[in-house]
């Protein structure tokens, strides 16, 4: 998997939009970009995945520029319950390959009232 770099922590306030950027300069042509969210004392859960341009679901948006060397997870109007650690992973799943899945340290988002 391509190496990723994220900010260690971010603070925000309720109602604001939060953007977390992940750098992945060595992304390969076929790699997907995936974000996970982890609450305290729980396992991570999948948030969103994309390959290029913009992807949006009911939870977040993912912006990927044309060169794909970075990506930005956007959380609209955050609430206190969005306080969590967010992980960015880059890679592609190939059938019949080993497909190890490695997480970095993630970004700890703290939402304040």
């Amino acid at each position: 998997l391509a190496k990723t770099t994220q900010p260690i922590s971010m603070d925000s306030y309720e109602g604001q939009e939060v953007n977390i950027t992940c750098s992945h300069n060595n992304i390969a042509t076929n790699d997907y970009i995936t974000w996970y969210q982890q609450f305290p004392s729980q396992g991570p859960r999948f948030i969103i995945q994309g390959y290029k341009t913009k992807v949006t679901n009911e939870v977040a948006s993912l912006f990927i520029p044309a060169d794909r060397k970075s990506s930005t997870l956007s959380l609209p109007r955050v609430s206190l319950s969005d306080t969590a650690v967010y992980y960015c992973l880059v890679g592609v799943f190939r059938v019949n390959n080993n497909n190890d899945m490695r997480f970095g340290a993630g970004t700890r988002l703290t939402v304040k009232p």
Binding site: S41, P44, R45, R94, N99, D100, M101, G106
Partner: protein, 115 residues
């Protein structure tokens, strides 16, 4: 939620004793993973499996072994537990989707304390 169960959820054991953690899935997913999580270190991959009896090492495999004799179970064994293996252990499962996309599902974690 994906059908993935870890057992036990909590365990306290003494240094030098063997410990086995179990991950059980009902999704028939091919890939299974074991991670440990310690304060300040995020998730670190211990071992993973890409099929029955097919396993490989991750980032922090020393002191751990795994076995997968059937699709639904992935066992993590600490042959001789040490205090440095006190951690929260997470199991994950995943399968491939069209075009290389995938999504992983995690268990609730096992809190292991070695005293």
């Amino acid at each position: 939620d994906a059908g993935i169960t870890q057992s036990p959820r909590h365990k306290v054991t003494e240094t030098g004793t063997p410990v086995t953690l179990r991950c059980h899935q009902t999704e028939n997913h091919r890939y299974m993973y074991w991670y440990r999580q310690d304060p300040g270190h995020g998730l670190r991959l211990i071992h993973y499996s890409y099929g029955v009896k097919d396993t490989d090492k991750g980032e922090v495999s020393d002191g751990y072994s795994v076995s997968r004799s059937k699709t639904e179970d992935f066992l993590l064994t600490l042959e001789s537990a040490t205090s440095s293996q006190t951690s929260v252990y997470f199991c994950a499962i995943s399968s491939s989707k069209t075009g290389g996309r995938t999504e992983a599902f995690f268990g609730q974690g096992t809190r292991l304390t070695v005293v």
